[in-house]
């Protein structure tokens, strides 16, 4: 098949346009890569400050990862000045929100109780389901609770947590996810603590070499 002049012109035109677009995108990526990483780190830092007890370490620096790939859980520990673990936080996903999944940062104390929770990402209805972000009283209901101190369901389902007027699905999803987080912590506690202390030991031997 022989290409005629018009076809060659078309190919060249599209090639040039696509090349210019590629250069533009690559340049923007190079310029924005660091600011985006910094913005994400700052957003995570801010959220972690709210769900972790007072600490003197950088939780993002001391993070450990359990599991692999899709099942990976990144744990951010809070340590006091003496290096004792005061608590830790990780993100859980409630897949059954009213519109899409809700991501929640759950902070726990070593005694299996909740220190605080914060919703980091959601698409729930403004004015209804978004109470999980705005309703401080509701968020406070989680503080200090553990698996046996509450019925981990919303009141409509016979539990101890309030639903919102006109919105039951969202609080139900969040309560379920936080409960799941506490169960996970109970099961994995020894593993997590072991990993955290070896991570620390690695840190120290690493420091000695320097």
């Amino acid at each position: 098949m022989k290409l005629d002049k018009d076809q060659i012109r078309m190919v060249i035109a599209l090639f040039v346009v696509a090349s210019i677009a590629a250069v533009l995108l690559a340049t923007t990526d190079i310029i924005t890569r660091e600011p985006i990483a910094a913005a994400q780190k700052a957003a995570l830092h801010q959220a972690l400050q709210q769900v972790l007890p007072e600490h003197s370490n950088d939780p993002q620096n001391d993070k450990i990862t359990l599991g692999q790939d899709d099942a990976a859980v990144v744990i951010y520990p809070a340590k006091d000045a003496a290096g004792h673990i005061a608590g830790m936080a990780w993100e859980v996903v409630a897949p059954d929100g009213y519109s899409g999944s809700v991501r929640i940062l759950v902070g726990v104390r070593p005694d299996d109780s909740v220190f605080a929770i914060r919703v980091t990402q959601h698409q729930e209805t403004p004015g209804l389901g978004d109470g999980i972000v705005k309703n401080d009283g509701w968020l406070a209901d989680f503080v200090g609770q553990n698996l046996s101190s509450k019925q981990w369901k919303v009141k409509k389902d016979g539990g101890d947590f309030d639903q919102f007027t006109g919105a039951t699905i969202t609080p139900r999803a969040v309560v379920k996810a936080v409960k799941g987080a506490l169960e996970f912590f109970k099961q994995q506690k020894t593993v997590i603590f072991a990993r955290l202390t070896t991570a620390e030991a690695d840190h120290k031997t690493g420091g000695a070499h320097e």
């Binding site: 677009a21 990526d29 924005t32």
Partner: protein
């Protein structure tokens, strides 16, 4: 067309939302508050300026048969650039608008301006057109977002207007409220346009009767 005509046309007479009813997806999706509407409008304005600029620059160089894929590539590139820039420097707003930023690509208003205007006009005219259409779109988004925020939550740009005792009217925040508020806004705009037209008509009529009047008096 001179620049002020281009502006009046893009901003008002051919307003993307009020006159053409295009770009409904971002309009209904993000306008739960005036601020969201403003930033969505600003992002669209930037994309529009970029695509109109480049399309106008390469006009005549792109063969007719492949112009649509070429324009879409240009538009998609600018949308991605704006999205990455927002992610980097306006992270919180990026998280709120999130999904709707990539969707600017399929806002037919932008392809429409590239095809109908930028590909046939000079670079400076194309930029003026992008500014006018972008501002008109932003104006519409802020207006609708403002109305929904005001009646839905009693606030405007996050400031309380109606006092704490205002019962939030949820319907305005939910999607049906967007349609209802848009309907009333469109009705109001049609009223304004009609009264302008009537006034212009009356002026023409007054002129012609003033000329005709002496003749009628004489006839009586």
């Amino acid at each position: 067309m001179n620049k002020s005509e281009i502006f009046a046309d893009g901003f008002w007479h051919n307003n993307t939302i009020f006159a053409q009813l295009l770009g409904m997806c971002p309009l209904l999706g993000v306008t739960t508050s005036a601020e969201n509407g403003f930033w969505m409008g600003a992002a669209t304005l930037l994309v529009l300026a970029g695509s109109n600029l480049v399309v106008s620059m390469v006009r005549g160089l792109i063969p007719k048969n492949v112009r649509i894929p070429a324009y879409i590539t240009i538009i998609a590139a600018f949308v991605t650039v704006v999205g990455m820039a927002m992610n980097a420097w306006m992270h919180e707003m990026y998280l709120i608008l999130g999904l709707f930023i990539p969707l600017i690509v399929v806002n037919c208003a932008i392809l429409g301006r590239a095809e109908a205007f930028a590909s046939k006009n000079s670079v400076s005219d194309a930029l003026m057109d992008a500014l006018a259409v972008g501002l008109g779109f932003t104006f519409a988004l802020v207006l609708l977002g403002g109305v929904r925020e005001l009646f839905g939550q009693g606030e405007l740009f996050g400031f309380n207007v109606f006092g704490e005792s205002y019962p939030d009217v949820l319907m305005f925040i939910l999607p049906p409220g967007a349609f209802i508020a848009l309907g009333f806004i469109l009705a109001a705009i049609n009223l304004i346009n009609r009264s302008f037209a009537r006034r212009a008509e009356a002026r023409v009529l007054a002129q012609s009767t003033a000329e005709a009047a002496p003749a009628t008096v004489e006839a009586q």
